[in-house]
């Protein structure tokens, strides 16, 4: 530091420590509550010494909410969204940065606008689209008169229908349809020196080869950052999976938490609820702790 400030330093340590305690306390409370038996967890005040029923509660929560398959679903969804984002954003950014076709600015703005409206606010119509993902195309055919034409010519009535409710693609695809990653790549591609492109072209590399052999290996850091952020974001989705998984087989771990809210009547089983909460919060927490560097980097880069 610039000068000696013993009083301020003391104050700094105190405040930061209080912040640390407030930040960590809910995790600790959840873990401790998950280790108590039914009577102890409802004690006022609850004992902060861990009880002995930890594994029993974890097991009960695991079977009550059927968490095994649900965690797998969560994992498939999160990995799918992360992979989809990493790949599709890279392709789009490459197209926007490295080509000069007419309508490029329009495409740029079309993608940019999607940053503004999160899935939550257009949830009702998106649900309708996922119920029949081809309905937009059917409507276009109907309006342009093409389906009438096809019916006249071939005698086949056009009715396109493909429902994605209760499917992994229905879970994943709408979550990929935003621009978050595209701009991360775009910023990075713009910093790649032009000389590199020139050299590659001189050596006879086409667009595809340049993209795969030069650009993608260079963007490894971006991919890790974007992948981490998107994995967490998708894992933590709640409203979307809640809506489109009417069937239990595709429900995710986060939506299953609702099953564990204690009933109003009787003694609330908070120990079970907290054990379930602990299981659901653990995977993203592990990702944050292990991938901290990428997480922070991705967080700052995707928003700016």
């Amino acid at each position: 530091m610039v000068e000696r400030t013993p009083f301020l330093n003391f104050f700094t340590h105190v405040i930061l420590f209080v912040g640390f305690v407030l930040c960590i306390a809910p995790f600790v409370v959840v873990a401790i509550a998950a280790s108590h038996n039914l009577r102890d967890v409802n004690d006022v005040p609850m004992s902060l010494l861990p009880g002995s029923d930890f594994w029993l509660n974890i097991k009960t929560a695991w079977t009550t909410a059927d968490l095994g398959p649900k965690l797998l679903n969560s994992f498939i969804m999160a990995a799918g969204v992360a992979a989809g984002k990493v790949i599709i954003s890279a392709l789009t950014a490459f197209s926007i940065v490295y080509f000069r076709y007419p309508g490029r600015t329009l495409i740029f703005w079309l993608i940019f606008v999607t940053l503004m409206l999160p899935l939550e606010v257009r949830i009702v119509p998106t649900y309708a689209v996922v119920a029949n993902v081809l309905s937009p195309y059917q409507a276009i055919l109907d309006v342009t008169g093409l389906s009438w034409l096809i019916e006249k010519v071939s005698g086949v009535q056009v009715s396109l229908s493909l429902g994605l409710l209760n499917s992994y693609s229905g879970l994943i695809m709408p979550l990929i349809a935003t621009a978050t990653g595209t701009f991360l790549y775009r910023q990075f591609f713009l910093t790649v020196p032009d000389e590199l492109t020139e050299a590659a072209r001189m050596d006879g590399a086409g667009a595809l080869r340049f993209f795969i052999d030069i650009l993608l290996p260079l963007s490894r850091n971006n991919m890790a950052a974007l992948g981490t952020i998107m994995f967490l974001w998708a894992w933590n989705q709640y409203l979307w999976p809640l809506l489109i998984t009417t069937d239990q087989s595709h429900a995710t771990a986060v939506t299953e938490l609702k099953q564990l809210i204690p009933n109003v009547g009787g003694i609330p089983e908070w120990n079970i609820a907290m054990a379930g909460t602990l299981i659901v919060m653990l995977p993203p927490l592990i990702v944050v702790v292990l991938m901290q560097r990428w997480f922070v980097r991705g967080l700052i880069a995707t928003e700016k």
């Binding site: 530091m1 400030t5 301020l8 330093n9 700094t12 930061l16 912040g19 640390f20 930040c23 809910p26 995790f27 409370v29 959840v30 509550a33 967890v41 005040p45 599709i88 954003s89 392709l91 490459f94 197209s95 490295y98 080509f99 076709y101 079309l110 993608i111 999607t114 940053l115 999160p118 606010v121 257009r122 949830i123 009702v124 119509p125 309708a128 689209v129 937009p136 695809m173 990929i176 349809a177 032009d194 492109t197 072209r201 667009a207 933590n236 709640y238 409203l239 986060v254 938490l257 609702k258 809210i261 609330p268 907290m274 919060m281 927490l285 901290q292 922070v296 967080l299 700052i300 928003e303």
Partner: protein
Amino acid sequence: MEKRVTFGSWTIGILFAVPQLLLIFTFFYWPAGQAVYWSLTLQQPWGGGNIWVGLDNFRSILANADYWNSITASLVFAGISAGLAMFVGLVLAALTDRQLTGSRFYRVVLIWPYGIAAPALAMAFRFILAPEAGFMAVVNQVWPGFWDPGLDGTDAMASIIIAFSWKYVGYNFIFFLAAFQAIPRSLIEAAAMDGSGVVRRFWDIQFPLITPTIFFLLVINITESFQDSFGIVDIMTSGGPANATNLMVYKIYSDGFKGLDYSGAAAQSIILMVLIVVLTIFQFRFIERRVHYR
């Protein structure tokens, strides 16, 4: 900024953009257009298509006291939780930036809450703030009836604000810390040489230099409070008691999927979309220009 060296082939270039364009057309532009269409029409009870009703859906929503209550609740929630999360994040970041022993440790730990799913932390806080067990029960023993989010609207609102702020303190902390660390050390040292103390340096140098970050985070926190609140509300209060925590996204969900009033829900979505777009444009156009020191 543009590239000087590009590739010639138009077709390949457009092909690269096609997957993204298909996705955003199907899952973004079409639903957004659909929302506009639904908001201007009314679904017939016996099927047979929608009838055009113009702005009637908006009129009936805006005449509905429940809806205004929901807007008020959302704004109160957005204002207080953004203020709280940003203030705490700012203080913690400013103190961590002093780089005393242990600051690296805080830098690591304080981000953890942001990784947690909103419903999971809502569950944790539902227990911590429960009136009959957990920790507020202790307070209730001393002052009976002091705290009951199940019956008292203010208590319920306070609970969801606490849960949301807890998550977003870490988020704001990261951005504030990055902003503080981007300030050249030489500026601070020069000011110290001229005899200004820590507080003076904060208000006259650091604070003005991080105002862009403050405004940026303000917009993000408010828009996130509209979206990310859904899981918290659904787990902690289900919009109750007596609609005290019936925030806008939650109301859209319950009207659209539980009440099956697609037209009303669509009209509400449109209002929310406009609100968010205005906020975003405000951020890009107005704030970015007025507060720029680089």
